[in-house]
């Protein structure tokens, strides 16, 4: 009878030792992580300076349509009559039309609205409920214009997955985690919220 009892004690001692070791291990990990943890949370964002407009933001997001949308920095915009982000290349615009035909537009979902402001100037606004984040307009504006159109993850939509599917697929390594209290990488400092 004394034999099994002795064995139990040994097992119990090993268990207690392991428990102690486990607690020490967990507290060490906690200490190491606390040493350089960031205060708040992080969110995913796309750096417009690194973006090459490959179009994968439209397809790789777990949402359909993507949480990435075209954003317009109005202070950088030239308000061009012939907008390279709006018209198909080679299309001859007619200034009298505020809303030209679909085939003359670069945007596959007609998500950019063109409104006459004054003289030769037109305002371009993005309808986010239509925008799919393909970046076609961004490419046009970046190539020939001021680059006032650019892509951003919109945080009223983004589910902030632990690993962003777009970030994993991005060929330009343009995605990174940013502090949640500064969740956008806007092109113009003045427009930062």
């Amino acid at each position: 009878m004394s034999e099994p009892k002795k064995k139990l004690t040994r097992r119990e001692m090993i268990r207690r030792g392991a428990l102690g070791a486990g607690l020490v291990g967990v507290s060490t990990a906690a200490g190491l992580l606390a040493a350089r943890r960031s205060e708040g949370g992080t969110v995913w964002q796309l750096d417009p300076d690194k973006c090459i407009q490959c179009g994968q933001c439209a397809t790789y997001c777990v949402l359909d349509p993507s949480a990435v949308k075209c954003v317009h920095a109005f202070v950088l915009c030239g308000y061009c009559d012939l907008c390279f982000g709006y018209f198909q290349p080679g299309f001859e615009p007619d200034a009298a039309f505020e809303r030209p035909s679909a085939e003359s537009q670069l945007c596959p979902t007609e998500a950019i609205h063109r409104t006459w402001v004054e003289g030769p100037y037109f305002e371009y606004t993005i309808d986010e409920s239509l925008c799919i984040g393909c970046g076609k307009c961004v490419k046009g504006c970046n190539t020939f214009g001021n680059g006032s159109l650019f892509l951003q993850a919109r945080h009223d939509r983004c589910l902030n997955c632990n690993e962003c599917s777009i970030a994993a697929a991005c060929p330009a390594k343009a995605w990174r985690r940013v502090p949640a209290d500064r969740p956008y990488l806007l092109k113009d400092e003045d427009t930062k919220a």
Binding site: R36, D64, F74, L76, L82, E118, N160, P171
Partner: protein, 441 residues
């Protein structure tokens, strides 16, 4: 017309800085430029709410499993966890995925792990050291959703159960390697249930047509796991979950854990097949001397062989480090750029275009990739060694004779679901007494 010419000239000149290629207009009318809207992300407050919910759910699960001993209570808590941590929260960040954030945080100096993620990683570990795997029982939404669909669990042969269980440790090792090198979060990429959980927050967005965009294959994976889970209970928890692998080890040292009955086991065998996860250990038989001598010899051989296994698989791992390093974006980019430089491929692709757009010298990229490959050689040794160690320790553990007289839940594999309690006649007697006790006075 003049504007167009200027624009074209600027475009052809290839000005690197895109800003103000076109003069900004000075408006004569009272037009005011709209401000770019920046809708904020989910408020920090919700992170604290999630942490509070985690702690509360862990406390409730531990109390329900160990003190209150109520399967029904755990079932209700499972439903609540699936609803809150799963569907309401959309699944991220979970404790399982947090392994990767923590690994990256420990190895990569540039990445600071947010406090909420650290808490989600550590709190269930501490709880397991005290109460066993009550986190798995009814808090983890992945575990809970699988537990709710167990209908007709089939018995898996013990040898197969032990063998399949090793996959979780391999998965854990691989996940840590790829996260620590900043390559990928494979646990998230192959998370079978997050795509199902995400449907609800996705549908909250008014104009979202569906939430299956990039994840139809993931949704099929999740549905597959649930269908398999009807017959093979909790397949992800038992054979794949890397966090479960950590908890399996920690639970062996836990201070308290679920017992089939707090009273004495009468070895009636009624609970023997009650566990859908095959986690109940039977009393050991007295083996003849000859067999015990064989066992001892086998144990000696295994103790000698394990270091060789660690070294051998470590070598194999280092040999596989080149293909593994391709999980890293920089390595893939470097390989493409190198191929283009050597003229082995025609033209450029998005990856190489992105590199050329940075105007950095090629050598810089090559050096960067070489450093990552070196890290993967080390990582390959460690991962291989880890797999060898896991196999060796498993075999040694199976070869050690443990005398046991009662039917008990296995310390490691028991997920504290509480199903076995109802099968125990002693436990039922205790319930009856408790009921009479509360009714009498």
């Amino acid at each position: 017309m003049l504007t167009i010419l200027v624009v074209l000239a600027a475009g052809l000149a290839g000005v690197a800085q895109a800003a103000e290629r076109i003069a900004l207009p000075q408006f004569q009318s009272d037009y005011v430029r709209p401000v770019t809207e920046t809708p904020p992300p989910r408020a920090d407050f919700y992170d604290y709410l999630d942490v509070a919910a985690l702690v509360a759910a862990l406390a409730a699960a531990s109390y329900l499993a160990i003190r209150f001993r109520s399967r029904r209570g755990l079932w209700v808590l499972s439903v609540l966890s699936v609803l809150y941590f799963g569907f309401w929260r959309g699944g991220c960040v979970c404790s399982i995925g947090a392994i990767q954030n923590v690994a990256q945080g420990l190895f990569e100096s540039g990445y600071a792990v947010p406090a909420a993620i650290v808490i989600f990683f550590l709190v269930p570990l501490v709880a397991t050291l005290f109460f066993g795997r009550t986190f798995c029982a009814a808090v983890c939404p992945l575990g809970a959703i699988q537990d709710l669909v167990v209908v007709q669990p089939l018995r898996v042969p013990t040898w197969l159960e032990h063998a399949l269980g090793l996959m979780a440790y391999v998965y854990l090792g691989a996940a840590v390697l790829f996260a620590a090198t900043g390559s990928a979060y494979i646990i998230c990429e192959y998370d079978p249930f997050v795509s199902i959980f995400r449907l609800v927050p996705a549908f909250r967005l008014a104009d979202t047509m569906n939430a299956l965009g990039g994840s139809t294959d993931m949704l099929l994976l999740g549905a597959g796991f649930l269908v398999v889970g009807l017959f093979l209970a909790r397949p992800y928890c038992r054979w794949f979950c890397p966090y479960g692998a950590i908890l399996r080890v920690l639970a062996r040292a836990s201070q308290w854990r679920v017992a089939i009955t707090p009273d004495e086991c009468i070895r009636c065998r009624l609970c023997e097949h009650s566990c859908p996860f095959g986690a109940i250990r039977k009393p050991t038989l007295d083996e003849p001397r000859r067999l015990r001598r064989m066992d001892r010899r086998r144990l000696a051989v295994l103790v000698v062989v394990t270091p060789a296994l660690v070294a051998g698989l470590g070598w194999l791992g280092s040999w596989l480090s080149a293909p593994m390093s391709r999980m890293h974006t920089t390595v893939r980019q470097e390989e493409r750029v190198r191929l283009e430089e050597m003229g082995l491929v025609e033209g450029t692709n998005d990856t190489s275009d992105a590199f050329y757009a940075t105007h950095r010298p090629r050598e810089e990229l090559y050096a960067e990739a070489a450093a990552i490959r070196d890290r993967f050689v080390w990582g390959g040794w460690l991962l291989g060694g880890w797999v060898g160690l896991v196999i060796g320790v498993k075999l040694i553990h199976l070869s050690i004779r443990r005398t046991q007289t009662d039917f008990v839940p296995d310390e490691g594999t028991c997920v504290a679901c509480g199903r076995c309690l109802a099968y125990c006649p002693i436990e039922r007697q205790r319930w009856k007494k408790a009921k009479a006790g509360t009714a009498a006075p």
